[in-house]
């Protein structure tokens, strides 16, 4: 058989993967085999964490609302606030409440006082 070189097929494939991992640290962006593994890990983590993203932020919002509500002497806690919100049929979600807690806390207090009544 005559000698056949594989050419640039594998190199092109690896270049694309290398491009993906070009910003990784150390050997993870330099060594080919490591790059391939790190790309898998990165993509898989991204896929998994896209759902975690939503969970994480909701946790954060709950924590922030809790902190803001407890600052106010009139209202008690996050749990009571949410309970009252549902009772009074307010549709504001935690993201908005958390942003209000940061930006316009008076509004949040107005809401909580309104629901307590």
């Amino acid at each position: 058989m005559t000698r056949i070189r594989r050419g640039y097929i594998a190199r092109r494939r690896r270049t694309k993967i290398r491009l993906f991992a070009s910003s990784f640290r150390g050997a993870h962006s330099r060594l080919t085999r490591t790059i391939i593994q790190q790309k898998i890990k990165a993509l898989f983590s991204a896929y998994r964490d896209r759902d975690r993203h939503k969970r994480n932020f909701r946790c954060l919002w709950v924590t922030r609302i809790n902190a803001a509500i407890r600052e106010n002497a009139a209202s008690c806690s996050y749990s009571t606030l949410i309970n009252n919100l549902y009772k009074r049929q307010l549709l504001l979600n935690r993201k908005i409440l958390a942003q209000l807690a940061i930006l316009n806390r008076n509004c949040l207090y107005l809401i909580s006082n309104d629901t307590i009544k």
Binding site: R13, I17, A67, L91, K95, I96, I102, N104, Y109
Partner: protein, 422 residues
């Protein structure tokens, strides 16, 4: 004159593949002439809105927008009501005049009102002038209205009731409606006239004394006519058409002193917005991978590369396939393959970028006024208008990092409990 107009007509008509692309193709040459500097949304006024609306049509920045099933119902009637509510009057000038205060020394003066609006399951804090990405609003097309060329308006006119007419009726209707909003009255007359007298080609020319030239041509079973506007009317028709939306699910409206808390919705409150762009979200790679199966190796990456080589159908030797893919029917397999491919075939979510123009209708709703004695106990930052200053108004939406949970800066330390003043 005839030759030039006919050549322009042919040139324009040759690029008409769909209705919606008409205005897009005309946008490019106009962008240089009519492209205005990015509006300063701090100073809200009718002129600002006009500027913003004119620059909107030329902005190609991506927006994301989902279409909620509930919102579509509220949007469909809204768009039909557009002719009754001209764009300039939708701005809540009377409402803002009561509340406008100079909160900061910054030049951008923002209307000190915010609202929480629900768009399809998601809630957003909106302030007039802010742009945001929401889910794709199907009916709110930016290109609904024809871009008014400085020289030529091309309107598709169907000469007979065909299937094409039926399909395009809604578009034509919307075009009529939208043209009515923006155009000179002359054109409205022409449109109505031509609509009622579809077969009478010459009627168009006679209707208006403003038209310098009017041609009529039959191209591909459709009739086109072009109106060339005299130079006098060019300035009047310089405003680019816009696509306005009203978001009705307003959950909360807050001003400097009052909060209108909706239970669950603030009745009659509406947030007016303008569709800037319908686009796609940033591409996300969906990569599914299971490791260390007994009769598999780590093949996620292999599969990745496998399909990249284009050997989808004939691949049989290099590595182990995913179990699901092996037995799944071809359609599902191709879908899985797409998902496994990653870099080249990601997943993009369609979106729409809208810019909020105003908040109205909340005044009659019972609101909770912030008591002065209560306010004094709280930290002054709480009512310094941070909501209105915290949101960024980037001039180049594409450059800003986009995310679904964007927290405006600066973010005060929430756990700093010692700041409370008593």
């Amino acid at each position: 004159m005839a030759a030039s107009s006919s050549t322009t007509l042919v040139a324009l008509c040759s690029s008409f593949t769909t209705q919606c692309k008409i205005s897009k193709t005309q946008n490019a040459p106009l962008s240089k002439t009519l492209c205005l500097s990015k509006p300063n949304f701090g100073s809200l006024s009718k002129t600002t809105q006009k500027l913003s609306s004119s620059s909107l049509i030329f902005s190609k920045k991506p927006t994301f927008l989902d279409k909620p099933p509930k919102l579509s119902e509220s949007e469909a009637p809204v768009i039909e009501e557009e002719p009754e509510v001209p764009a300039s009057e939708a701005n809540p000038e009377p409402a803002s005049s009561q509340i406008v205060e100079v909160a900061t020394e910054e030049p951008p003066k923002r209307e000190e009102i915010f609202a929480v609006v629900m768009v399809g399951g998601r809630q957003y804090i909106v302030i007039p002038g802010r742009w945001l990405y929401v889910q794709r609003l199907k009916d709110a097309n930016v290109n609904d209205k024809y871009v008014l060329s400085a020289y030529v308006i091309s309107i598709v006119l169907l000469s007979s009731l065909t299937l094409i007419w039926g399909c395009q009726r809604s578009f034509f209707l919307s075009a009529m409606v939208n043209v009515k909003l923006q155009c000179h009255d002359v054109i409205l007359k022409c449109m109505l006239y031509c609509r009622s007298n579809k077969d009478e080609n010459t009627a168009l020319c006679s209707d208006s004394s403003y038209l310098k030239f009017c041609t009529f041509a039959n191209i591909m079973h459709k009739s086109y006519f072009t109106l060339s506007i005299s130079s006098i009317q060019k300035e009047e028709i310089s405003a680019a058409p816009i696509s306005q939306i009203t978001l009705n699910k307003v959950l909360l409206v807050g001003t400097r002193t009052t909060a209108y808390i909706g239970k669950p919705v603030v009745t009659n409150a509406a947030v007016h917005a303008v569709v800037e762009e319908q686009g796609l979200d940033a591409k996300k790679i969906v990569f599914k991978y299971k490791r260390k199966k007994n009769y598999r190796r780590n093949i996620g990456h292999r599969q990745h590369t496998w399909f990249r080589l284009g050997l989808v159908a004939g691949f049989c030797s290099c590595g182990v396939k995913k179990k699901g893919l092996k037995k799944a029917p071809m359609e599902k397999r191709t879908r899985e393959i797409k998902y496994a491919l990653g870099l080249s075939l990601g997943v993009s979510r369609p979106n729409t970028r809208i810019r909020i123009t105003g908040i109205t209708g909340y005044q009659d709703y019972p609101g909770n006024v912030l008591r002065e004695d209560y306010a004094s106990h709280l930290h002054p930052e709480n009512y310094s208008g941070e909501v209105w200053t915290a949101f960024q108004f980037p001039e180049a939406p594409g450059t800003q990092k986009r995310g679904p949970y964007r927290v405006p800066h600066p973010v005060p330390d929430l756990l700093d409990l010692k700041r409370k003043t008593d």
